[in-house]
Symmetry: C2
Subunit: 207 residues, 2 copies
């Protein structure tokens, strides 16, 4: 029997580079990890494929999923719903894949409530100065947007203690290896090896 | 300022090979780890050096150490005291070394009480059959002693849930790397990075 995978939630400041880390992780260890695919009611953009970027749903379909308890967590942004379908995540975990959810703290806490074994990982840049430079460096954001994102980071930083691990994204390749190592080492947790422990106890007693 | 080291307690069944794992770990990463040196009232054996194998103490000295709170934990076996001097451990931790204590569960829990950040690691052989073979294979133990050690293992196995990680010693070199990786990854724990988190928060607010 294949060992069940681990569910991992990754959060981090906007500009922390968490998206890039996850992309690299999935590229480098593609048989080990699966990225959770969100369901959304927003319209697909050009090039987006249903079941790849998102599961595209109508408002009615999405609200039925909520009612039927088919979402681990969901939230509404602007006019649209976004959520994490439980079935896909559970299927991947059963196949032994470690499943990554990239969501914010409110969602992270909801996931942890439903799946207490979830590993919560927070990504931070080495310093606020670097965070600011990265946000400005994107060039797509004006000064006001940068300030807004930094203000948002203040809020997010209040919740870091709810996470299990903190990784600092200084050098991308180093950080990717750290994240991989943290996740794989989690498999040695006593709480994730109760079956083996019970087996050993049974064998010991039969001697 | 150098980052403080981690205190690690390693326990495991007699015959699990934990002693060999620790020896290899200390040999391979000698600048990273320090083995805690116990104090004892037993007589030094030929070749043993005070402050290397043990800190050799008289009964009066040892009991004064107990009275003065200089031991993290101690126990009495047969006629002699064995204990872990706090000063040496704290000095090594301050120097940034990860300090390893090889003790049994009762001691492990006492250490965890005094140093809540302690990492508890349990070493198990892959199966009871292999454990038995290893104990017999030593050749120094008769059948009765092997049975006694297996009975002791039953007691020890009852406490595994108090540990953080379980490593299975199948192949020595693999196991040494796993232990090293588990300990080093522990440094990313949110609870071990509170200073950094507070620094980030302060910087964010000053923007």
């Amino acid at each position: 029997m294949k060992k069940k995978g681990i569910l991992i939630v990754v959060s981090g400041f906007s500009g922390s580079g968490k998206g890039t880390i996850m992309k690299e992780l999935l590229k480098k260890y593609d048989t080990q990890y699966a990225l959770s695919i969100s369901a959304t009611t927003r319209q697909p953009r050009v090039g987006e494929v249903d079941g790849r970027e998102y599961f595209f749903k109508t408002r009615e379909q999405f609200e039925k999923m909520i009612a039927d308890g088919e979402l681990i967590e969901y939230a509404q942004y602007v006019e649209n719903y976004y959520g994490t379908p439980k079935a896909y995540v559970e299927q991947m975990l059963e196949e032994g894949k470690d499943v990554i959810l990239e969501i914010e703290i409110q969602g992270a806490l909801k996931v942890k409530e439903k799946f207490p074994d979830t590993l919560l990982l927070f990504v931070s840049p080495p310093s606020v100065e670097i965070l600011r430079k990265r946000l400005i460096g994107r060039g797509t954001e004006d000064e006001k947007t940068v300030e807004k994102r930094l203000a948002r980071a203040v809020e997010e930083s209040a919740g870091i203690e709810n996470y299990d691990y903190l990784v600092i994204n200084d050098k991308l390749d180093v950080c990717v290896e750290e994240v991989h190592s943290i996740i794989q080492n989690e498999k040695f947790r006593v709480s994730r090896n109760i079956n083996f422990i019970q087996e050993i106890r049974k064998e010991l007693k039969s001697f």
